[in-house]
């Protein structure tokens, strides 16, 4: 390296804090830091003083007290004797359940509608436009309330199914009853029950469930191997072996076997006393919320999908056609891989929105995290500061997890440019 003479910097003067680029930003940051710290100190100090005035403390001990209230729909066993912590966990699980189911359904709906809006069929495309605009321009809360009202006001009460000449009848071969409280669906019974795996804290998983998960995951890996093999054969001979029936077999056969093995069957619900029993009663609050979230988010996803497909220029499909690729292959080999890059990031932020919007469960009394920790627990214990801080923290973690996933994805599919 050549020898370097440092430029003769003038000695430090105070005015350089402001006029020198290097120090200026430092000065500014120090000022900002001091201001922020002062503000934070002010807030914390106020809080401490306010708590003192009220004679309260900041203490999460309440989480270990008896909750005392019941929750309509829980994913893990829960009674009023459990702690607030468990109630919180039940709520969190409910939040996660509705979010995941909502995201899955909204994705399917959104993709279908997004593609349909591009359809050449004038009427259908118009209809989809109406759907999308209607849902995008009206508050989600309204849709939640309306759908909930549809269920409570339009569906018959369970006792309408009673008697020799009932006013309502079950659908799907007497397997499903739509009522104004819940949708009663068949439960799963096993003649050959393999028992349960106890995870402690009264959380159990049926071995049957585990078996199914193992079989499905295993099937998925085998399917990947089959596809890989098909690819290899194609690379070698140019002809791609048909894989769909193998895939189907791998994915479906083992499950069928398991079903026979465990003697899995449906146990249809029946009306007993006031309500249906024997099956699973899915609360209307859940169904309405799920439907509303799905329809609302689906409308946004449809727009994203449409924009994503439109973002792939027309020339791409023309080039593919000109090369002799069929429309279906063009879609899978040329359009979709490109569209996905455009679609996925906003799609994930829709997932984020959906998760956050699920907190509107309060409007229909679905007990999610906000309903348990941020609702009843908060109120019964009077620990609003702790409960809200904890609740926000949990939502924040959920969101950060989702966006972390998004960043990883983005980094992977970035188009290489000059």
């Amino acid at each position: 390296m050549t020898d370097v003479t440092a430029s003769v910097d003038p000695p430090f003067r105070l005015s350089m804090l402001i006029y020198d680029r290097r120090y200026r930003s430092l000065t500014f940051q120090v000022i900002v830091f001091i201001l922020v710290m002062a503000a934070a100190w002010w807030l914390v100090n106020n809080t401490i003083r306010n708590l003192a005035v009220l004679g309260k403390d900041f203490n999460f001990g309440f989480l270990f007290q008896r909750a005392g209230y019941d929750i309509p729909q829980t994913a893990i066993p829960y009674t009023s004797d459990d702690t607030h912590l468990r109630a919180t966990f039940v709520g969190l699980l409910n939040t996660i359940i509705i979010s995941v189911l909502g995201c899955v359904a909204a994705t399917f709906l959104g993709v279908a509608v997004g593609v349909a809006r591009l359809s050449k069929n004038w009427l259908f495309a118009r209809l989809m436009t109406v759907y999308v605009e209607a849902f995008r321009n009206v508050p989600l809360l309204l849709w939640i309330l309306i759908l909930y009202a549809v269920f409570t006001e339009v569906m018959p009460p369970p006792n309408a199914y009673r008697g020799d000449d009932p006013a309502a009848s079950m659908i799907f071969f007497d397997n499903v009853a739509l009522t104004n409280r819940y949708t009663a669906i068949p439960g799963l019974g096993m003649t050959n029950d393999p028992g349960v795996l106890d995870l402690g804290a009264r959380i159990t998983i049926s071995w049957a469930t585990i078996a199914f998960v193992v079989v499905l995951v295993g099937g998925w890996f085998i399917r990947r191997a089959i596809l890989k093999h098909a690819q290899a054969v194609q690379d070698r001979t140019g002809l791609r072996p048909k894989t769909w029936w193998k895939n189907l077999a791998v994915m479906v056969l083992p499950s069928l076997l398991l079903i026979f093995w465990f003697g899995l069957h449906l146990e249809p619900p029946s009306l007993q006393g006031f309500n249906f029993t024997g099956g699973v009663n899915v609360q209307n609050s859940f169904v309405a919320l799920w439907l509303a979230l799905t329809l609302y988010t689906g409308a946004f996803i449809a727009e994203i999908v449409r924009a994503g497909i439109l973002a792939v220029s027309h020339g791409q499909s023309e080039a593919a056609f000109a090369l002799g690729l069929r429309p279906r292959r063009t879609m899978s080999l040329v359009i979709l891989p490109q569209a996905l890059r455009v679609i996925i990031p906003p799609l994930i932020s829709q997932y984020l929105n959906l998760t956050k919007n699920s907190s509107l469960a309060i409007a229909v009394g679905y007990m999610d995290l906000r309903g348990t920790l941020g609702g009843t627990t908060l109120n019964q214990t009077g620990r609003e500061l702790e409960a809200i801080v904890l609740m926000m923290g949990i939502y924040l973690v959920l969101s950060l997890l989702i966006s972390a996933g998004m960043n990883i994805f983005n980094a992977r599919v970035k188009l290489k440019e000059r």
């Binding site: 070698r236 001979t237 290489k416």
Partner: protein, 262 residues
């Protein structure tokens, strides 16, 4: 804009057979009620190199795209390599795998490498083993002088290089006819030459070519015939020399004065 064509083409080597490659008969096309192509009659023999010129909007692109069935014609016949273009999917597939097309804006697939761009159609349409497809692709990439870029993505190449990849991609399907739609008009001047050189080389090898272009140097150097279109009709057909030096129609004269004058 027209760069001088550096290499003078050796026309003696190029054979035009009597075999008919494309036959278009009284073909008409409308966009809605707008009559874009009117009574087009054109016969292209194997090995011919035809340049199509004409003012903007005269239907040049549409004509060329009809030959590839990227657009549908509504009346008349188009027979490519003995196959008539109807709505029959099999015919369309056959024609498309015989006819290569190069677009103005290259239309490379940005998510695939150059090599993958070139092997995609051979593998999925012609069902050629990957190894073999890659070997072919490399051969054509060498031909267009960018074998070293094979593993890059299109976005990493210059315009001229991209257009050459596009040509290589079409060639990989080993077409018997090549269509070019203004292949150089989106390129910077210094890149035009690279692409024209590649096209001239193709011409020398006897490829049947239809080329929409405003590169008059190119037309004079390689074309057997120049077709002049206006308002959806073929107004004049001639050999390049006569076309440029002795145009007969008024419209052609006007057009040439605009193109060459500037």
């Amino acid at each position: 804009m027209s760069e001088p064509i550096t290499r003078e083409i050796d026309r003696s080597q190029m054979q035009i057979s009597d075999e008919v490659a494309i036959e278009i008969h009284k073909m008409n096309k409308w966009y809605g009620t707008f009559h874009v192509l009117r009574d087009i009659d054109l016969t292209v023999h194997r090995g011919e190199r035809i340049v199509i010129a004409g003012p903007s909007g005269s239907g040049k692109s549409t004509l060329i795209r009809c030959i590839n069935r990227l657009e549908e014609h509504q009346a008349g016949r188009i027979v490519v390599d003995g196959v008539e273009l109807t709505s029959d999917i099999k015919n369309i597939d056959k024609v498309r795998s015989e006819v290569g097309m190069v677009f103005q804006h290259f239309n490379l697939f940005p998510h695939l490498t150059v090599l993958e761009n070139c092997t995609l159609a051979p593998i999925w349409v012609r069902k050629i083993p990957r190894k073999q497809a890659e070997a072919t692709a490399m051969r054509y990439l060498e031909k267009v002088k960018i074998p070293d870029q094979a593993l890059k993505y299109p976005g990493q190449l210059s315009g001229g290089q991209q257009q050459r990849v596009a040509i290589a991609r079409s060639l990989c399907m080993q077409p018997r006819i090549m269509l070019f739609d203004e292949p150089t008009s989106a390129l910077d001047p210094e890149m035009i030459k690279e692409v024209l050189d590649t096209m001239i080389e193709l011409a020398e090898e006897g490829m049947t070519m239809l080329c929409v272009t405003h590169e008059m140097g190119f037309a004079q150097a390689v074309a057997n015939r120049v077709i002049f279109m206006d308002q959806g009709q073929i107004v004049e057909q001639n050999n390049p020399h006569d076309f440029f030096h002795n145009p007969r129609s008024e419209r052609t004269k006007l057009f040439l004065s605009q193109i060459l004058g500037h």
